[in-house]
Symmetry: none
Subunit: 438 residues, 2 copies
């Protein structure tokens, strides 16, 4: 028997369309991953009666109900009252929880405001769900025999509590038939090129399904199968292996391992270090690299040289090159990468210069033109990209492209291997070589 879930989202801001219901989407995906099927979603106002009605409908139909939102300290946060009414139990002050909350505020260097005391009132016979990220605690209880989990609406808090408490509890219940997905992450190849390559060499057997999920800065492939856990795992492992072989260096990972974490692990393994020189990405490449816990072991520094003066004085880019080629050029990308590597004495130096837009484009150098430079030892090379989209999109795609160059170098060990790993259409990548020059 498949375990069916209902998701209840509380909040006027969702009903009014001010906020997209991203919490419900995250819940849907995560539940499926542990074999629980989301069967019905409800969105209700910050109204205790509506919330209670929705809960009573849901516990009748589903094996598990997840409620998000309305757990804050303000008077319009009425989910606690509503759940107590649906369960026909009183709200009781949980002294243990109140002590924990006070300790949390004190640890953050301040005193808990009195109004937060509301958050320590839970329906009788509930268990507390700890909040690893923020101050609003969640709780779980049974209503009419159905498990009800109640989580805050702030996405990061909801996700953290889902991951640490709710999913492990549900995974234990779902035993038996499951539906599982694995996601392969690719970067650097267009969706159509991936699809063509796969359809030429692989036939879906009907045992598994394949969906293309284009992301900003890469395409994800979602492979799904259903059945007993043993069968599902075997089918998925086989399909994933075939696709990996077909796509080779375009695949950088599976199931959510971010590109920057992969690059970090490979740098650590080799004992190498990296420094960064950014222009159009404005710090985003460095921000991504330092999302990884422990990145200080291989990341030394970054220079965001937005002005030409900063490029010259901090990175030693020659004013002559800037005049002759312009700040957005392969030559400047190479000098930036060499400059930051020399400055910080790291194994690798990586640079980005380009036109993020919306202004600043010309006929020869349009918005979205970006050069990424990579310096290693005495060699350096720049790679040219033309990205679509708005300013944020260009910044993001450029930063991802730079991470991908690092990955390909760490994978192949030579600048030629980087080129081989990239997808090439006729015009795609003009390269500026300066191998062997110091």
């Amino acid at each position: 028997m498949v375990l069916k879930a209902e998701i209840i989202t509380v909040g006027n801001e969702i009903l009014s369309g001010a906020t997209l219901n991203s919490n419900a989407a995250v819940l849907g995906r995560r539940l499926l991953e542990v074999g629980v099927v989301p069967q019905w979603g409800s969105v209700v106002a910050d109204d205790a009666q509506d919330i209670a009605r929705a809960v009573l409908h849901s516990v009748e139909r589903a094996g598990v109900v997840i409620v998000t939102g309305g757990l804050g300290p303000t008077p319009d946060d009425v989910t606690r009252e509503a759940i107590a009414a649906a369960a026909d139990r009183p709200l009781v002050l949980r002294e243990d929880l109140l002590d924990d909350m006070r300790r949390g505020w004190t640890a953050r260097g301040t005193t808990m405001p009195e109004s937060n005391t509301r958050q320590a009132f839970l329906p009788a016979r509930s268990s507390v769900i700890p909040n690893p990220v923020g101050s609003a605690p969640g709780f779980r209880l049974k209503i009419a025999g159905t498990d009800v989990f109640v989580l805050p609406g702030v996405p990061a808090e909801m996700s953290g509590m889902l991951r640490e408490t709710v999913l492990p509890a549900l995974a234990a219940r779902a035993r038996g038939r499951i539906r599982r997905f694995r996601t392969l992450h690719t970067i650097g190849w267009p969706e159509s090129a991936i699809a063509e390559r796969i359809s030429r060499r692989l036939r879906c057997s009907g045992e598994w399904s394949l969906a293309y999920l284009p992301q900003r800065g890469g395409v994800d492939l979602r492979v799904g199968a259903a059945g007993s856990p043993a069968r599902v795992n075997r089918v998925l492992a086989d399909a994933v292996g075939r696709i990996r072989r077909i796509l080779g260096p375009a695949v950088y990972g599976a199931d959510g391992g971010p590109l920057e974490a992969l690059v970090g692990r490979q740098l650590l393994r080799r004992g190498w270090t990296v420094s960064v020189a950014e222009s159009c990405t404005g710090g985003l490449l460095s921000n991504l690299l330092t999302h990884v816990p422990g990145s200080s072991a291989y990341f030394d520094r970054a220079v965001v040289a937005y002005s030409n003066r900063a490029k010259t004085s901090l990175l030693g880019v020659s004013p002559k090159t800037l005049r002759a080629r312009g700040a957005v050029s392969g030559e400047v990308a190479v000098e930036m990468a060499r400059g930051v590597k020399r400055l910080s004495r790291t194994t690798l130096g990586i640079s980005v210069t380009g036109i993020a837009g919306p202004g600043g484009g010309t006929k020869n150098k349009p918005v979205g033109l970006v050069y990424v430079g990579l310096a290693v030892g005495r060699s350096a090379r720049a790679f040219r990209f033309q990205f679509p989209g708005d300013r944020r999109s260009v910044k993001y795609r450029s930063s991802r492209a730079a991470l991908n160059l690092l990955r390909l170098y760490l994978r192949g060990g030579t600048l030629d291997a980087v080129e081989t790993g990239m997808w090439r259409s006729g015009e795609g990548e003009k390269r500026i070589r300066q191998d062997g020059r110091g």
Copy 2:
């Protein structure tokens, strides 16, 4: 009497989280604009029984029900059957509609596939809603006295039919009455402190409503009112003005202007420039500042000095201070801000140093401890923060706090004004002053 609406979204792809429910958000916003209040949302699978159950619940509670999705020509499109079952009427072939559909296909230069004939079967006594964009027709009917509108799930088709048929019909019913919202953005004060301050000094008159929407790195306040357009605008302007006066410097904007854009506009207006020295935020502060188009006019450079060596060699932080106080200290924050300002000759220098976690915390310097330094002229000051959450959360909150310091300085013109604008609980902000030192 306010006309209340329920929105039913049909589609496995929404339940599974593969697609965000943007249709429901668009519907919510558009309905409010004509004075109809979205009161309840349901998301159901491509399952005729579930769709019919949702419709029967909704017609009981609401004055109008809008269903989207499941009107295509394939076997998993079962909304027509479900609505017919809910209305307890047969599906009948509408020859008039079939002729129209055939003509549409011919006009697009091709012949209608036979499978599309399914789309011409509607519940008896329905009216056709023309589709100005695509091929799937919609329809409307009354069930248990309630208006039910059924639209396709393709967003562009749904929006077109909403605009041309549904909204005019509803506006006629809601006559003159609208509901409108405004959003105030705050930063730096905890939600509970904002709520306490407001509840002490302001009573909701019943003319308008107030919701607290905590975000990562700030709290939004959503003020709503209903009535005639003139009345609504007057009530909202009055409420927003009062709240702004009560919260003073905690409010940084309204209706969606991001903090970094506000800071950018103020820098431009004064002709000032800024440079950035980051440690734990790893480039994120600089990334946010450069999200703003045209930021090169006031943003010169950033140095991400992750290692102590980088702090010393690039920013001139004294090795003695690093040894005596540690890299995460107000003194180092001040030296970093001074250093980057001197290096780049900008009006302002801003710095961040802290412990983003998950590792690196100690008893005296726990994860989440962050110092933000601000240097201007010969003065500099550091501000201490203790943020909750994981690595990304600490990076984000720290970067927002730094933007907020810039905003408060640009607003008040002195470092004392920055302090006054920040929220203080007993312990909250120890300050490290070095005013007047060079």
